[in-house]
C-alpha cells in the first residue's frame, strides 16, 4: 500500500511489554540501526526491580525507549510518539507519557481477560474508545506469526517468542528503514540455532509486510540522517563507557589496571565488564564488601597499578573511611559512584544526583578530593580517563560521579583515535637521591611516589599525619596545619589544569541555567529550543565539581539570575551559594527519573515571565 511520508526532525519510540517479552532486545537493535542510518540517538531501558515479576502485572512491565533525530539528541525523549504495547499493563503504565496523536500498536493477545484484570482495566481499552485521541492499531500478532511460521513446526509458545521481532519489522517499515542490517544482526545472534533464526527472520519480514499492507498504517515517518563527524560509532551505556575508559587510561598511564569492587545496582555492570577483560590484562577482586573493594584498590595503587573501585550510594557510604586514608596517604585512586535514589536502600533501580554532598563533604577531618561528574553516557569514557589523569598526576583519590540514568541509557559514541590521546605515563621515583615520600613537586604538589620493588627506596607511610616534605610521623600542631592546607591547595590548584567552563548562548545576561552531570541532556534540549525561539537564556554545564573551573565565579557574576536544575534537593545550589555567595534559583526533581526537557523549559519561561529578580 502506498504511504504518505512525513518528515520529522525527531521521534520517540517506546517498546513496552512484559519482562519476558524481549523489549530490551528490539529497543537496542532499533537504536543501533538508527545510529547506522545516521540519526542521533538516545535511549533508556526501563525494567522492573523484581528479577521475574509475575507475568502481566503492572510492576512487571519492561520497556525500552528510543529517541532518534536528524539533529543532536540529548534526552530519551520527553514524550512517546510511537508505542508498542504487548500487553494491557504495558499500555497502562506508559499511557500518561504519550504525545497527543501518538500511535499505539497493540497486540490484542495481551489484552485478554486475564491481562486486563492484572492491569486493573474494567473494560478493554482497545475497544472501549478510551484511546480515541490516539491513533490505535490493534494487531493479532499471534495470528500473523502463526501463518508466517506454520511450516516450521514450532510450539505455539515458541511462535509467540518472536512477537518482539515482529514489532521491530513494523517499526522499520514505519520509519522506512531497510531490513538488511537487521537480518545480519539476527544471523549474528541466532546463527547457531537455524530454526530460531529462520523464525525470527520471517517474523521481521512478517511485521514489515504487515505494516506495508495494512491500510491502518497510512504514513511513514522519515527522520533523515544528519551530518556526523567521520569515524567508527557504536551505542554505549555509561557503565560500559566507564569500563572502557579505565582500560584506556591504563594504556595511557602505562599502569596495569586493577579493580576492587562489590556488586551493587546500578554499578555492577562495570565489574561485569572489567572482570571479563582479562584479555587486556585487567586484574580484579570481587571483594567481600565495599570496604574490601576500596582497600584492595588502595593496595594495588600502592603497588603501582591504576586502581579503581566502583559502587553506588550505600557502598559509597561504606567506602568513606578508606577514602580518607587515600587522601592522607596521597594515593592515586579512582572511585566511581553510580548514584541511585537514596537515602539508604531507597529506590535502588531509580536514578538521582543526591550523592554530591557526601562526595564533597562526606569524610571525617579535612579531606578534600577532586570530583568529576559525567554529563552523558559517552562522557563517562572521557571522564574515566580524566579521573585517572588527575589521580596519577596529583597523587590523590578522585571521585567520578555518574548515575543510574547514564549507567543504563545509551547514546552513539564515536570511538576516539587512541593514538591521538595524550600520553599520561606515570613515572615512579627510582632515584634514592633526595627521596622523601612527602616531598612534593613544586607545581602539582604531588608527593614523591616510589613503589615496592624499587631498590633503596624503602619507606613507610600511613594514615597518621606526616612531617611535611619528610617521612616521619608527626603530631606537631603547626605541621598539621601546614599539611591540611597543602592537601587543600593541591586539590584547589587542579583548577589550573582543567578546561574553563563554557557558556552557551550569550556570555552575559539575565538567566544562566547551570547544570551538572546527567541533567545535561534535558537542559541542553530545553535551552537550545528556547534560544532557537529567541529567548534570552544561557547555559553552562559543570563536569568538574571539585575544584570548579576557575571562571565559574566570573560566569555566575555575569548573570542576573542563575537556575540550577538537579535531581536532588538542591545540593549544588547550596555549594554554589556557600562558595560564591550568589543566590541561585532551584529546580529540584526527586522522582527517580531524569528531567524532561519541557520541565526545564517551563521553569525558564516562568522565570522569564517573572522578569529580573
Amino acid at each position: 500500500m502506498e504511504k504518505k511520508q512525513k518528515t520529522l526532525d525527531n521521534l520517540t519510540i517506546r517498546f513496552a511489554g512484559d519482562s519476558g517479552d524481549g523489549m530490551q532486545l528490539v529497543g537496542t537493535q532499533l537504536s543501533v540501526l538508527s545510529g547506522e542510518y545516521g540519526n542521533d540517538v538516545n535511549t533508556f531501558p526501563d525494567y522492573p526491580a523484581e528479577v521475574r515479576a509475575p507475568e502481566g502485572t503492572l510492576y512487571g512491565v519492561s520497556a525500552y525507549q528510543v529517541h532518534i533525530g536528524s539533529k543532536p539528541i540529548t534526552t530519551m525523549g520527553d514524550r512517546i510518539d510511537l508505542m508498542i504495547a504487548l500487553n494491557a499493563s504495558s499500555l497502562k503504565v506508559n499511557l500518561s507519557n504519550l504525545t497527543e496523536n501518538a500511535i499505539i500498536i497493540a497486540d490484542i493477545n495481551g489484552f485478554d481477560e486475564k491481562n486486563l484484570t492484572l492491569a486493573g482495566y474494567a473494560n478493554n481499552p482497545l475497544e472501549d474508545g478510551s484511546l480515541a485521541k490516539y491513533k490505535l492499531v490493534s494487531i493479532d500478532i499471534r495470528e500473523e506469526l502463526t501463518k508466517a511460521l506454520s511450516d516450521l513446526n514450532l510450539m505455539p509458545k515458541d511462535i509467540l517468542r518472536s512477537r518482539n521481532i515482529f514489532t521491530l519489522g513494523v517499526v522499520c517499515k514505519l520509519l522506512d528503514r531497510k531490513l538488511d542490517s537487521s537480518f545480519d544482526w539476527l544471523k549474528r545472534k541466532f546463527g547457531q540455532k537455524a530454526k530460531v533464526l529462520e523464525a525470527n527472520t520471517r517474523a521481521l519480514q512478517c511485521g514489515y509486510d504487515y505494516a506495508t499492507n495494512s491500510p491502518e498504517f497510512d504514513t511513514q515517518f522519515i527522520v533523515p540522517p544528519m551530518d556526523k563527524p567521520k569515524g567508527i560509532y557504536r551505542n554505549i551505556t555509561g557503565n560500559e563507557a566507564v569500563a572502557l575508559g579505565m582500560v584506556t587510561a591504563s594504556r595511557l598511564t602505562k599502569m596495569p589496571l586493577f579493580l576492587g569492587s562489590y556488586p551493587i545496582t546500578p554499578a555492577t555492570e562495570i565489574l561485569h565488564f572489567l572482570a571479563g577483560f582479562k584479555k587486556y590484562g585487567v586484574r580484579h577482586l570481587q571483594a567481600e564488601d565495599e570496604i574490601g573493594g576500596i582497600c584492595s584498590a588502595i593496595g594495588a595503587a600502592l603497588g603501582g597499578n591504576l586502581a579503581v573501585t566502583t559502587t553506588s550510594g550505600p557502598g559509597f557510604s561504606l567506602k568513606i573511611e578508606a577514602m580518607g586514608f587515600a587522601v592522607i596517604a596521597e594515593i592515586p585512586l579512582v572511585i566511581v559512584n553510580v548514584q541511585r535514589a537514596g537515602p539508604s536502600t531507597g529506590i535502588p533501580t531509580k536514578s538521582e544526583q543526591s550523592d554530591l554532598f557526601t562526595a564533597m563533604y562526606g569524610r571525617h577531618g579535612e579531606a578534600p578530593m577532586p570530583i568529576l561528574a559525567a554529563q552523558s553516557c559517552a562522557d563517562c569514557y572521557d571522564l574515566a580517563i580524566e579521573a585517572s589523569r588527575i589521580a596519577t598526576k596529583y597523587m590523590t583519590p578522585v571521585i567520578l560521579l555518574t548515575d543510574g540514568y547514564l549507567a543504563q541509557g545509551t547514546e552513539p559514541w564515536r570511538l576516539p583515535d587512541i593514538d591521538k590521546l595524550p600520553d599520561l605515563t606515570k613515572y615512579f621515583v627510582t632515584d634514592p637521591e633526595g627521596f622523601q615520600p612527602y616531598k612534593r613537586d613544586e607545581k602539582t604538589l604531588a608527593r614523591m611516589f616510589a613503589i615496592p620493588g624499587t631498590p633503596n627506596l624503602e619507606h613507610r607511610i600511613g594514615g597518621l599525619e606526616k612531617q611535611n616534605n619528610g617521612s616521619a610521623v608527626s603530631s606537631d600542631g603547626a605541621n598539621h596545619q601546614v599539611m591540611v592546607e597543602i592537601r587543600q591547595k593541591k586539590v584547589d590548584n587542579i583548577a589550573n589544569d582543567i578546561p574553563l567552563l563554557e557558556v552557551e548562548g550569550e556570555q552575559k545576561g539575565d538567566i544562566l541555567v547551570l547544570g551538572w552531570g546527567s541533567t545535561y541532556g534535558a537542559i541542553k534540549a530545553a535551552t537550545d529550543k528556547l534560544r532557537s525561539e529567541g529567548k534570552k537564556v544561557s547555559t553552562a554545564h559543570l563536569r568538574y565539581m571539585n575544584p570548579f573551573p576557575k571562571n565559574l565565579g566570573e560566569i555566575l557574576n555575569n548573570f542576573e539570575r542563575v537556575l540550577i536544575p538537579e535531581t536532588n534537593n538542591g545540593q549544588l545550589s547550596v555549594i554554589i551559594q556557600g562558595k560564591f555567595l550568589k543566590k541561585v534559583h532551584k529546580l529540584n526533581k526527586l522522582m527517580g527519573i531524569p528531567f524532561k526537557a519541557y520541565e526545564i523549559e517551563n521553569k525558564v519561561l516562568e522565570m522569564l515571565n517573572q522578569g529580573g529578580k
Partner: protein, 347 residues
C-alpha cells in the same frame, strides 16, 4: 601492553648478605619496655634476612594498634593503614604485584574484631599473604578494652564488671574459614617463632600465624600459661609433621583418639605406647580441626607449631595468573575492545 613497571627494569639488590640489622629502620621503637612485641620484630628481622629475598621486594602492611606500629620499625616498604583493613590492602598489593613477598602485621582487635570479615575471606580465598596475628588478648593502643580473644569474665576498662563474650579461638576460626596454613607460636620462644615464620613464608597461599605476646600494661601475663618456658611444657604440645603428638616435661604424655575426640594418655605407665598416639599430619584438615579445637579444652594441651599446611590448594593469585596466562594478549587491539560487537562507520 608494556607498562611503566616493565620499563622500569629495576635491578634487584642482592639478598645475599642481608642481616637482621638491614631490616631495622632508623625510627625509635615506641613500645613499652618489656612489651612482647620486641621479640616478634627481632625474630621477623632475622627470618627475613634468611629468606634470601631482596629487601625492596618485601612489603609489610599493618592496621592500627600497638602491634600495628610495627611498619615504622622496619626498613622495608611498609604501610600503616586503617584499623582492620590491613588484609584487604595487602591483598590488593599482592594481586597487583605478584613479585612481592607481602606480610600482614595485625592485632587481636585489628584482625579478629573490626577486621574479621577480611580475615576469613583471605583464608577462604587462599590469598597469598603471610598474616602475623599479635595476640595479647586485649586492645592495647586504646588503653585496655576487651578484645575478641579476651576470656569471659575478664575485667577491662570496657568490661568493668567482667567480659560477657566467649572469645574466638583464632586457629579454629581460621581453619573453619578455609585457611590452608595455620600455626601458633609465642614471643617467648624465639627460635620456634623464627621457624614458624619461615614455614609461613614457604607456604604459597594464605599463611596464618598466631603469636602470643604479652601486654604488660593492660593484660599482663594473660597468656603466661602457654608462654612461660617452664609452664608451657605441660600446657602445650609442640606439633611436628609425621611425628606422634606427645608432650610434657619428659614427653611422657600423648594424644590418642577416643572415637571422634582426642584424649590425653600417659606414656610412662606402660598402658599406652607411642603406637597408640595420634601422628600429626599437617596436610590433613580433619587433623587441623581436631587440634585447633583442643585449645578450647582445658583438659588438653594447647597445640603450638604448624597445625595445618595444605600445599595442594591453588591460591587466588595463582588462579588469577592462570586466567591471565590464558587470556591476556599484550598486543590486544584496544580499538576492537572499544568497538564492541555492534558498531558502524560514518564515512
Amino acid at each position: 601492553m608494556k607498562t611503566y613497571q616493565d620499563i622500569l627494569n629495576l635491578t634487584p639488590t642482592s639478598a645475599e648478605n642481608l642481616t637482621a640489622k638491614d631490616f631495622r629502620s632508623a625510627a625509635e621503637v615506641r613500645w613499652c619496655p618489656g612489651c612482647g612485641n620486641y621479640s616478634i620484630i627481632a625474630q621477623l628481622q632475622k627470618t627475613l634476612a634468611e629468606m634470601n629475598i631482596p629487601k625492596e621486594k618485601i612489603a609489610i602492611v599493618s592496621g592500627i594498634g600497638c602491634s600495628s606500629r610495627f611498619p615504622y620499625y622496619m626498613n622495608n616498604f611498609a604501610y600503616h593503614t586503617i584499623h582492620g583493613r590491613a588484609i584487604p590492602i595487602a591483598s590488593g598489593l599482592r594481586l597487583a604485584r605478584p613479585d612481592l613477598s607481602v606480610w600482614v602485621v595485625t592485632g587481636d582487635g585489628d584482625c579478629l574484631s573490626i577486621g574479621g570479615n577480611h580475615f576469613i575471606h583471605a583464608c577462604r580465598r587462599n590469598m597469598n599473604l603471610n598474616i602475623l596475628l599479635f595476640n595479647n588478648e586485649i586492645y592495647s593502643l586504646t588503653k585496655g578494652q576487651q578484645s575478641p580473644t579476651s576470656r569471659v569474665g575478664l575485667k577491662t576498662k570496657s568490661s568493668p564488671l567482667g567480659a560477657l563474650d566467649d572469645p574466638f579461638e583464632p586457629t579454629t576460626l581460621a581453619t573453619g574459614a578455609g585457611a590452608t596454613f595455620v600455626a601458633r607460636g609465642t614471643a617467648t620462644d624465639p627460635k620456634s617463632l623464627q621457624h614458624l615464620m619461615m614455614e609461613a613464608h614457604k607456604h604459597k597461599g594464605a599463611s596464618f600465624l598466631e603469636i602470643y605476646t604479652n601486654c604488660l600494661i593492660f593484660n599482663d601475663n594473660a597468656l603466661k600459661d602457654f608462654s612461660d618456658k617452664e609452664i608451657r611444657k605441660e600446657t602445650t604440645v609442640w606439633l611436628e609433621h609425621g611425628k606422634p603428638i606427645v608432650f610434657g616435661k619428659d614427653n611422657d604424655k600423648g594424644i590418642m583418639m577416643d572415637g571422634a575426640r582426642p584424649k590425653v594418655v600417659p606414656l610412662n605407665t606402660g598402658k599406652y605406647s607411642l603406637n597408640d598416639v595420634l601422628v600429626h599430619n599437617k596436610r590433613d584438615s580433619y587433623m587441623a580441626f581436631l587440634l585447633s579445637n583442643m585449645s578450647y579444652d582445658t583438659t588438653l594441651p594447647r597445640p603450638m607449631g604448624v597445625i595445618l599446611d595444605l600445599d595442594n590448594i591453588e591460591t587466588y593469585l595463582e588462579r588469577t595468573e592462570a586466567q591471565l596466562a590464558k587470556h591476556y594478549d599484550h598486543d590486544a587491539d584496544l580499538m576492537t575492545l572499544l568497538a564492541g560487537s555492534e558498531s558502524w562507520e560514518v564515512k
